[in-house]
């Protein structure tokens, strides 16, 4: 006896069938329309709208959108475009709190800490605002004033428990040897993010991955990165971390393939170096070519923003097998600009590579006087025979 199917059911089944076909096609085809790409397109449209500002408000909008754009790409030319937009707005309409605010954040982004401090001094009206309180605490952290930074973050949370305040404290906890607390704070922060803001959620998942990665839990890190990628697709920053975690979990072919894809899109020298490091043993000629390419790209970055570029450059030089003669100079300059434990550790590692253990030991001893505690620090300290609290 034939099965009778009513018309509404037939319609449903037909829709299901067609939808299955559509979904399969979509699933199997390259997915170019990512969240990242859509956001960049949106910002580009906004920038084009305000590119020839006719009023002060338009000029500020242009700065705002350019800043958002550069924050996503972290391309030095885009950052330069923000700086130019701020300068143009200031020339045409005179200084304002908004411009000082953007300038302070931009300088901070570029590791020009003195510039941040100077610009903040021009904003007495906003001095008590939570955003400047946060920036002050961030500045303290970058300048190695850890007690002040911690107090600032705790005050912020006390004042208003926002997700970004929790994330700031989480970062402090991570870098002071408290990964469980850091992860819990990031988790709490992620719980506060609304569904309309998947980008921030992805960023927090990325941070949770970093916590796991820093402590050697590579599979766990990869899991967080994958969630981040699904939440906000197509973001090179997340993909690069996936590539790094794939390398650490031993999936070198997948890591290499992903790095190549990211390099094609971003041209970031630190990723070129990371790829070269992976290829060094198997394909030394290709690796050498990549190192040269990275060197040119770093050169361009250094010419534009030396303070911002030096951290990645030093890390790249430390990872190379041979010794680059510029290593000490860069590491010392970086330390002079940001006299914090992170910069001290980079300099100590540079000294170690250059065969100067006494100088390295002294720096590690200095870090041990601070609350800064990371697995990498402890590893270098052990190598140098430096105990906790500076006791050798």
């Amino acid at each position: 006896m034939p099965i009778k199917i009513s018309t509404p059911w037939r319609l449903r089944l037909a829709i299901i069938w067609v939808s299955c076909l559509c979904l399969c096609t979509a699933a199997c085809s390259p997915h170019e329309d990512t969240d990242y790409a859509k956001e960049l397109a949106r910002l580009k449209t906004a920038i084009a709208k305000f590119d020839a500002p006719a009023s002060k408000d338009d000029a500020l909008q242009l700065v705002y959108y350019r800043y958002q754009y550069a924050s996503l790409t972290v391309d030095y030319d885009d950052l330069k475009a923000v700086e130019d937009a701020i300068a143009a707005a200031r020339r045409t309409y005179g200084p304002s709190d908004d411009l000082y605010y953007f300038g302070a954040y931009l300088d901070f982004k570029l590791h020009r800490l003195q510039g941040t401090q100077d610009l903040m001094a021009h904003m007495p009206n906003a001095a008590d605002s939570t955003s400047l309180q946060a920036l002050r605490a961030d500045l303290a952290l970058q300048q190695g004033r850890y007690t002040e930074a911690l107090q600032g973050y705790e005050d912020l949370i006390h004042e208003r428990r926002t997700w970004d305040a929790l994330a700031r404290l989480a970062y402090y906890r991570l870098k002071t040897g408290q990964p469980e607390e850091a992860d819990e704070l990031y988790r709490q922060a992620a719980d506060m993010i609304p569904a309309k803001d998947m980008r921030s959620y992805a960023w927090l998942e990325l941070q949770r991955g970093l916590v796991a990665l820093e402590y050697g839990h590579y599979e766990q890190a990869l899991e967080h990165y994958r969630i981040a990628d699904r939440a906000w697709s197509g973001y090179w920053l997340i993909e690069e971390h996936i590539a790094e975690a794939l390398r650490l979990t031993g999936d070198i072919p997948a890591s290499v393939a992903l790095y190549k894809k990211i390099i094609e899109r971003t041209h970031k020298p630190e990723y070129v170096t990371a790829l070269a490091n992976m290829l060094a043993a198997e394909a030394p000629a290709a690796a050498a070519r990549l190192y040269r390419e990275a060197d040119i790209l770093f050169g361009r970055q250094l010419a534009l923003y030396p303070e911002a570029a030096s951290g990645h450059l030093i890390e790249s030089l430390l990872q190379k097998q041979d010794i680059d003669p510029r290593l000490q100079e860069y590491a010392e300059r970086n330390h002079a600009v940001r006299p914090n434990s992170e910069a001290k550790l980079l300099l100590a590692r540079a000294y170690l590579k250059l065969g100067k253990p006494a100088q390295a030991r002294a720096l590690i001893g200095e870090i041990m006087q601070t609350p800064w505690r990371t697995p990498q620090l402890m590893s270098v300290a052990a190598e140098l025979g430096v105990g906790d609290r500076g006791k050798t």
Binding site: L23, S71, D97, P124, S129, T130, D164, P194
Partner: protein
């Protein structure tokens, strides 16, 4: 990549410039779009109206909120709740008229509140703008119904009662001279571009609150050269300090004061989205004859990103399977799992958040008993501003301002110090203009001010007509009635005792030495209300012609 760039990128405070139209009077700062960098959000609750229906023992309750994405269209990432708790009427307050007596009274109330698990209506939406309306904790048992939006729906309860529902876009029933109120409290975000991050220091500037403009208060006084300042136009805030150095109210050449209000309806032509219900009392309680008070409030919730990830980003196959399943089980199109949401806004007492709670995000919820001392301090702060203004107009005030000739900016740190100033205002009974509020003729005590603001919920007395403070009817001018709480109800305002409608009488302002000669807030809504459910007027057309105001 390790380092600063990655750390800071998304944590940067978002700054959006330009004008975002004013939100309502009653938001936590998290959704307070008066600030230059807070976008308008559908989670921003505007009002909760509640009153007895005509001709039946039914309660009408209407929650209104920002119409996003647009009037009549709902955001499926948001969920709303309306809590309804019937209870017997309390007897008139008979404890000592002291701070201690008041605290003891609320401590007793708190014990009741600790077990405050109210029945509620929960509303969520799907992609097709349909709503799932769930009734939870009511005597007849939990149930739900999926309804179409923008039309009146009849919801049948398990006991065979009918609940009317309308979920859709309507004209905003809030008629208010919002910029006048903000001018009265020197609220900078309405007049200047202030980011939310400055909410503690640059919101209310340290200038006396006042109903009459202050001589030399150039930041906030009406400027004929810039008539739209604060009514849409915002400027950069000039550098401080902001303290007022003057010693008198401003007067024109004819000796008239300048009113901070101009009586215009700033909400005219605006739409809202609403969740409106007409509910039989017999549905809400087993004892509708005894439980004549309905305590109620509304809440908005935003879906968490972490909850969305399960639906939004599983594998293609999982997504397809979920989608197919949803074709056969409609409920799957709705997510009303409460653990997937964060609470954002609360609406209970009109004006409570703006006037007393300073919109602090942590003041959310009906249980605001713990803020009693804070409210005492705040009320005294307001009294030092409004009290002298009222006296200057020749009206009696309940606030003890030591006969100050001009408004004073005074901030207390101790409630015990502030209390003697506000005592009379807190404990005086609020006179009603006539007996129309009590059609049942029952012995219903007049409300005292302190009973209205704590706890933070609307209490509808089903034996009254539900006019504020016995509920809130669409036609109530609650903003002007709030100002009347600073009048001395034991004295006359003109020929009769002051009452909650005194300041809403055009004749009073006609004869006062003040310009413009207007009531503070508009007397009626910009569109007439309907005679039948859902009572709220039809929405204004998109991009249509709005009334000039």
């Amino acid at each position: 990549m390790k380092g600063l760039l990655k750390y800071l990128t998304p944590a940067l405070a978002l700054l959006a410039f330009g004008y975002a139209h004013a939100a309502d009077h009653n938001d936590p700062n998290a959704v307070n779009s008066i600030y230059a960098d807070v976008p308008v959000s559908g989670a921003d609750l505007y009002d909760i109206f509640a009153y007895p229906a005509d001709g039946a023992d039914n309660l009408v309750v209407q929650l209104t909120f920002a119409p996003l994405p647009e009037a009549g269209v709902f955001d499926k990432d948001l969920m709303y709740q309306i809590h309804l708790d019937p209870a017997p009427r309390s007897s008139d307050y008979s404890d000592a008229e002291s701070l201690e007596g008041m605290i003891a009274h609320f401590e007793a109330l708190k014990q009741q509140f600790l077990n405050f698990k109210t029945p509620y209506i929960k509303v969520s939406f799907n992609d097709r703008n349909q709503a799932k309306v769930a009734f939870i904790g009511f005597p007849g048992g939990d149930f739900h119904q999926i309804v179409e939006t923008n039309q009146v729906a009849d919801i049948e309860t398990p006991r065979g009662q009918t609940i009317k529902a309308f979920l859709g876009g309507r004209d905003d029933a809030f008629f208010n001279n919002l910029h006048g109120f903000f001018r009265s409290i020197n609220y900078a975000p309405q007049f200047f571009k202030i980011p939310a991050a400055s909410y503690k220091t640059l919101a209310e500037l340290p200038i006396p609150k006042t109903l009459l403009e202050l001589e030399g208060n150039d930041l906030f006084n009406y400027d004929p050269a810039h008539p739209m300042h604060g009514k849409g136009e915002k400027y950069d805030l000039p550098p401080g300090p902001y303290e007022w150095k003057g010693d008198r109210f401003k007067k024109d050449a004819d000796g008239n004061f300048r009113f901070v209000y101009d009586g215009e309806d700033d909400q005219a032509g605006r739409n809202i989205n609403t969740l409106s219900f007409e509910i039989p009392m017999a549905f809400m309680t087993e004892s509708p004859q005894a439980e004549r008070i309905v305590r109620l409030w509304g809440e908005s919730y935003v879906l968490k990103a972490s909850a969305k990830i399960a639906h939004y980003a599983p594998s293609w196959w999982t997504r397809m399977w979920l989608w197919i399943k949803s074709m056969f089980q409609k409920e799957l199109e709705f997510n009303d799992r409460e653990s997937d949401y964060n609470k954002v806004d609360h609406d209970g007492v009109p004006f409570s958040d703006a006037a007393l709670s300073l919109r602090y995000d942590d003041h959310l919820g009906p249980n605001n008993l713990k803020f009693l001392r804070e409210f005492t301090i705040r009320f005294a702060h307001l009294g030092w501003g409004f009290g002298p203004s009222i006296s200057a107009l020749g009206l009696p005030t309940c606030f003890d301002h030591d006969n100050s000739p001009v408004s004073v900016h005074k901030v207390y740190t101790l409630a015990t110090e502030a209390f003697p100033r506000v005592k009379k205002c807190f404990f005086q009974k609020l006179n009603m203009p006539d007996n129309s509020w009590n059609p049942s003729g029952k012995d219903i005590p007049l409300k005292r001010t302190f009973e209205i603001f704590i706890p933070n919920l609307t209490q509808v007395d089903m034996d009254t007509n539900g006019t504020w403070p016995y509920g809130r009817r669409l036609t109530d001018q609650v903003a002007t009635r709030f100002l009347a709480t600073f009048l001395d109800m034991g004295q006359n305002c003109g020929a009769k005792p002051c009452d909650i409608e005194t300041l809403n009488q055009p004749a009073l302002w006609e004869s006062a030495p003040i310009v413009p000669k207007t009531v503070p807030n508009p007397l009626t809504n910009d569109k007439p209300f309907l005679g039948e459910f859902p009572y709220l007027a039809e929405p204004w057309p998109k991009n249509g012609e709005y009334p000039k105001h």
